[in-house]
């Protein structure tokens, strides 16, 4: 393959897209700050634009992170995990949970994922797993982790002491990208919300790390992390890094 540096350019701006960036200097910095470009596309395809601030972690204990791959954004999570120096492993069957240090449950459709959990005793096995092993849920993954689900009520693993309302911010047309300060150091966090659920209640042991208006959107309870937005679709690896730190901490504890 003949590739040179010019090919590394990730963000070719297209001459045939009519929107000019200068006209959009309103609130939403991320969505407005760039001319319409293929930046997001390139991110999806290569993962190379992720700038992991984690050179030291790659030299630490190697981690294997399971990504529940029944359906949904598992590929984007796996790519982000890989870019941070850990090894992703796709989980489609209960036996795939063996040998992983932590698990990511991605966005997608929680109803679809539940259908798969009905077979092979997967639901019970996964329930045991998430009650004891570091798990990070995004969007539909949060719905699976939650103690209570509304709109409509549905079965869940009941590990994280929160109540989640499905599709609570509206349909796709209401999906949005926001930037906000959070407890994670390093400046505002980019949050991609897609048909997002809303956390309407958090238990006493649940720490809120980031919010959207009054709603918690990134929370932690012990070994569990949950984001109603999609850090795997952004350019900011800090949420995944936080999860890897949790996994590493857990692994150290177990010896």
């Amino acid at each position: 393959m003949l590739r040179n540096d010019k090919f590394q350019a990730q963000t070719g701006t297209l001459y045939w897209i009519k929107e000019s960036p200068s006209r959009h200097n309103t609130t939403n910095a991320e969505a407005h700050g760039e001319p319409v470009s293929f930046e997001g596309f390139a991110r999806r395809s290569t993962g190379e634009t992720l700038t992991a601030s984690t050179t030291e972690t790659t030299e630490q204990t190697p981690l294997t992170i399971g990504v529940l791959a029944l359906q949904g954004a598992y590929a984007a999570h796996a790519e982000t995990i890989r870019s941070l120096g850990a090894t992703p492993k796709l989980v489609r069957l209960p036996s795939d949970l063996e040998g992983i240090d932590g698990l990511i449950m991605p966005g997608g459709e929680s109803t679809t994922m539940l259908r798969f959990l009905e077979h092979r005793n997967f639901f019970e096995i996964l329930k045991d797993f998430v009650h004891t092993t570091p798990t990070f849920g995004t969007c539909a993954g949060v719905i699976l982790l939650a103690k209570d689900v509304t709109n409509p009520a549905q079965k869940s693993l009941g590990a994280l002491d929160i109540t989640v309302e499905r599709n609570s911010y509206g349909r796709q047309i209401d999906s949005t990208i926001l930037q906000a300060e959070s407890k994670i150091p390093g400046g505002p966090l980019e949050m991609v919300f897609i048909r997002a659920p809303r956390i309407t209640r958090t238990g006493a042991e649940v720490e809120t790390i980031a919010t959207r208006a009054e709603d918690p959107v990134l929370v932690r309870e012990g070994h569990l992390l949950a984001a109603t937005f999609h850090p795997e679709l952004g350019h900011d690896p800090r949420v995944h890094q936080l999860f890897l730190d949790m996994v590493r901490e857990d692994k150290k504890k177990r010896g």
Binding site: L14, I17, H24, H32, E109, I173, I177, V192
Partner: protein
């Protein structure tokens, strides 16, 4: 809205949000449904999304006439009935139908060759909408042109309404082959490649670098069995659309899922099995188990027996 003159709301029309929803649908099955009961069956069976329409392609093919956007009343009922994303089809170039679909709160618009085209030259300017679009393609050039117009997802066209997977395979293989060929070209050869594919140079350059489309690439058009779904996934599809394969009995007769429990059970068995085979496409044992559960299959129509004028895939360019 779909205001073609103002700069619109870029926050919600950003390509990342649009392709983001497509990412959420990966590894799943999007099912054509013609009424609320079918939509419920699809959701129960594990469909990631439903496509609301009045006649599935097999019926359009059998009955003829002009095929248009579904009645908004039907679309609203289906939106009310299920919690998964709802898609609907607009005719090629019919941006007013697309405006209506966006207004209704449809989550994805399919600018589809299955409906009768409304414009013989122009496809819809999909950048003008906040709602994401999916478009069909038979080759890389067609896919790139649709992406350039703002499509957030590409699907193979296949030959809808036949239950014959041969053209979906042909289109998926062709797109894969053409992408692979770009990755070995010298930089100076890419300008000509853009010309050959009649596609924007910038897109050709990105594909040459990554070896894949810059938006999710799904498969549609003739997928009727669990093994068909597994085949398309192994050929590189990131998810599948199943149109007539689940709810059709004879060429123009759907299963009566509303009144006949036996026919309802048949539809459920097909829907469930295709969902399982799509996730476990690499595991023949599970595909076999899933296929065993299926009672009955859409009768189908060999695509090779169709006259050129009967093909839906040649609509759009």
């Amino acid at each position: 809205m779909a205001d073609h003159t103002s700069n619109g709301n870029l926050a919600s029309s950003s390509l990342r949000l649009k392709t983001g929803l497509a990412e959420m649908l990966k590894g799943g099955v999007i099912m054509d449904v013609m009424n609320v009961e079918q939509a419920r069956i699809a959701e129960e069976a594990g469909a990631t999304s439903v496509m609301a329409l009045e006649r599935v392609p097999a019926m359009i093919r059998a009955e003829g006439g002009v095929a248009r956007m579904a009645n908004p009343k039907l679309i609203k009922e289906i939106i009310e009935a299920v919690s998964v994303p709802v898609m609907a089809k607009a005719r090629i170039g019919h941006f007013a139908e697309a405006q209506v679909l966006q207004e209704l709160g449809v989550d994805f618009i399919d600018e589809s060759e299955v409906l009768t085209p409304a414009d013989e030259v122009y496809h819809i300017d999909k950048h003008a909408f906040s709602t994401p679009f999916v478009c069909g393609a038979r080759n890389l050039g067609e896919a790139c042109r649709r992406i350039a117009e703002g499509a957030a997802m590409i699907r193979t066209k296949g030959e809808a309404g036949t239950g014959d997977v041969v053209h979906a395979v042909q289109h998926m293989r062709q797109i894969a082959r053409e992408m692979k060929a770009l990755t070995v070209l010298d930089e100076s050869e890419l300008y000509n490649a853009a010309k050959v594919h009649q596609a924007p140079y910038e897109l050709i350059r990105i594909i040459a670098k990554t070896g894949k489309l810059p938006v999710p690439n799904f498969s549609a058009g003739g997928i009727a069995t669990p093994a068909d779904a597994a085949l398309m996934m192994q050929l590189g599809a990131e998810a599948v659309f199943v149109g007539s394969g689940i709810f059709m009995k004879e060429r123009a007769t759907p299963l009566d899922v509303e009144n006949d429990p036996k026919e309802r059970a048949e539809a459920v068995s097909r829907a469930k099995a295709i969902v399982i085979a799509t996730t476990h496409y690499n595991d023949p044992k599970i595909v076999a188990e899933a296929s065993e559960q299926v009672t009955g299959t859409m009768k189908g129509l060999a695509a090779a027996a169709l006259e050129e004028s009967q093909l839906l895939q040649t609509r759009g360019w």
